[in-house]
């Protein structure tokens, strides 16, 4: 689905580690060193307890399909119909993504199905994390 024209992120100082991670083939989350909460999206403090003592860690890349729609309207860089999904990561946080290597149908896309991250390089700086059905 990495056709030209897809909206691409522009990293900020607070999110740079995440996008450097995907470019290196890692899904990086953050954890609060004070209260232990895993969180996403990236920021330099914990919104659960307010602590600035936080660490970046490599997530497992395992997730389940939490919810989605199958979009039927044209969007630059996408070929309808395609699913816009939210996945629940094994570490707790949820993130929006796409489901690849899978029919984009209600029958194929079952909620709670096991997924694993794969990385789609868009250009020299941006690689997007997307998910495919887990291969065991």
């Amino acid at each position: 689905m990495a056709e030209p024209g897809r909206a691409l992120p522009v990293p900020t100082p607070e999110t740079k580690h995440f996008w450097e991670g995907t470019a290196a083939g890692e899904l990086r989350l953050q954890r609060c060193d004070s209260c232990g909460k895993n969180y996403f999206p990236p920021k330099p403090f914990c919104a659960t307890c307010g602590s600035r003592k936080v660490s970046v860690f490599k997530a497992s890349g395992k997730a389940v399909l939490w919810s989605y729609v199958i979009h039927h309207r044209p969007v630059p860089g996408f070929k309808p119909p395609y699913a816009i999904a939210v996945v629940q990561l094994a570490e707790g946080p949820r993130m929006m993504s796409n489901i690849v290597e899978c029919e984009q149908t209600p029958e194929a896309l079952q909620l709670d199905m096991d997924l694993e991250v794969v990385f789609e390089k868009q250009n020299d700086t941006i690689t997007l994390p997307v998910f495919r059905p887990a291969k065991g």
Binding site: L8, V10, P11, V69, R73, I84, V86, L111
Partner: protein
């Protein structure tokens, strides 16, 4: 804030609704504002407070010839106007202003003076949602619904019923954009937008506006219009990213704003206490979430409640009696039109008037479950 200390004395929509090619967005604000002033016999020099979203309150104050002692530019999407009512009521009680004008205008269809906004690619939405292909509310606001359907066993047919029943209300309203009755099959066979959402489960896109004028309950008695009192109010916010909602089957912002308003009003979310209800319906699932999060029904029961015709004409809980965003009109920030319908119901002037309605609850959403505002109105003097 005290109950019933503040009242709506002026209320009006733009002269036209639907496609309005002869007014820009600020012109729609002004048309509605002038209509609301005419409704209660005021002129711009009589207004000392102004709140708006879409335009800035500075733009509106200058455009209308108002010198304010109080301004509010809260702009959190379609429920901004509920929140303006809440802030205005507090400001009047605190003596910050005596007569407050709240305006809305939106050239949602014709897009004159209303440029398309782009998502900033450095924002969190721009980095962590936009790259995955959403295109505005139809493909974003709908994302949590599959989780709701699986959790509670709700069907596409039940969600379609929301659209069918709101069209029944719209059929009674000469100003509604769509009045022709529809069936469940019509909804399910309409063009697929973002499965499971079809075209007829999504709101209209139209031009229009509305305005409200609030003053103290004491002063309200001097106006020719029937006062509509503010009995309770609430507001909250959750997340600008739909993917980051805490619970995909419920809105935290709804669960804060709603009960805050009911507590202040001293009533409960029951058919016994509430005669008329508006729940902002940009999409067909919103009345379902709203009925549950406001506390009218236990989780998972609202879809069957609606399909069972309890909110339909003749039902025990008349809901979205103007036809709603699904059939009446939806300029983009629909909250003002829900407020207008609540005021009409309390004045006894609605097209589909609920007989003897004394309390109306008006619940709004901003963004995609991002924010919320709830206003409870009464037409009984304090």
């Amino acid at each position: 804030m005290r109950r019933n200390a503040v009242a709506v004395v002026g209320a009006a929509e733009t002269t036209d609704l639907g496609v309005i090619p002869n007014l820009s967005q600020i012109g729609l604000h002004a048309d509605a504002a002038l209509n609301a002033m005419a409704d209660c016999g005021l002129r711009p020099k009589d207004i000392d407070g102004i709140a708006t979203a879409g335009q800035t309150p500075v733009e509106l104050a200058q455009y209308l010839g108002i010198t304010p002692t109080w301004i509010d530019g809260t702009a959190v999407g379609g429920c901004s106007f509920m929140i303006h009512v809440r802030h205005a009521a507090a400001a009047i009680e605190a003596g910050l202003a005596k007569t407050i004008l709240i305006t809305h205008g939106e050239s949602g269809k014709s897009r004159i003076g209303n440029p398309m906004r782009r998502v900033d690619p450095q924002s969190l939405n721009g980095q962590f949602e936009q790259p995955f292909g959403p295109m505005g509310p139809p493909s974003m606001f709908t994302i949590p619904v599959m989780r709701y359907m699986k959790t509670y066993g709700v069907t596409e047919e039940q969600i379609a019923q929301v659209s069918v029943i709101q069209r029944e209300w719209a059929a009674k309203n000469p100003r509604a954009t769509f009045k022709t009755p529809i069936t469940t099959d019509d909804v399910l066979n309409s063009r697929m937008i973002a499965w499971p959402f079809r075209l007829l489960m999504c709101c209209l896109v139209t031009d229009g506006g509305g305005a409200l004028i609030l003053t103290s309950a004491e002063r309200a008695k001097d106006f020719k219009t029937r006062p509509v009192y503010i009995l309770g109010t609430g507001e909250s916010a959750e997340t600008p990213m739909v993917s980051q909602m805490e619970d995909f089957t419920s809105s935290r912002a709804f669960r804060v704003a709603g009960p805050t308003a009911f507590q202040q009003a001293g009533i409960s979310p029951t058919v016994k206490d509430v005669d008329h209800l508006m729940i902002y319906d940009a999409f067909a699932h919103l009345p379902i979430y709203g009925l549950e999060d406001l506390g009218f029904l236990p989780r998972g029961e609202a879809a069957a409640f609606i399909a069972g015709r309890n909110t339909a004409p003749g039902g025990i809980l008349p809901l979205n009696t103007n036809g709603g965003g699904l059939s009446y009109m939806h300029s983009g920030m629909y909250g003002m039109y829900a407020l207008q319908e609540s005021v009409r119901q309390m004045r006894g002037t609605a097209a589909a008037q609920v007989p003897n309605a004394k309390i109306s609850v008006c619940h709004g959403v901003g963004g995609m479950f991002a924010a919320s505002g709830t206003i409870i109105f009464s037409n009984e003097a304090p």
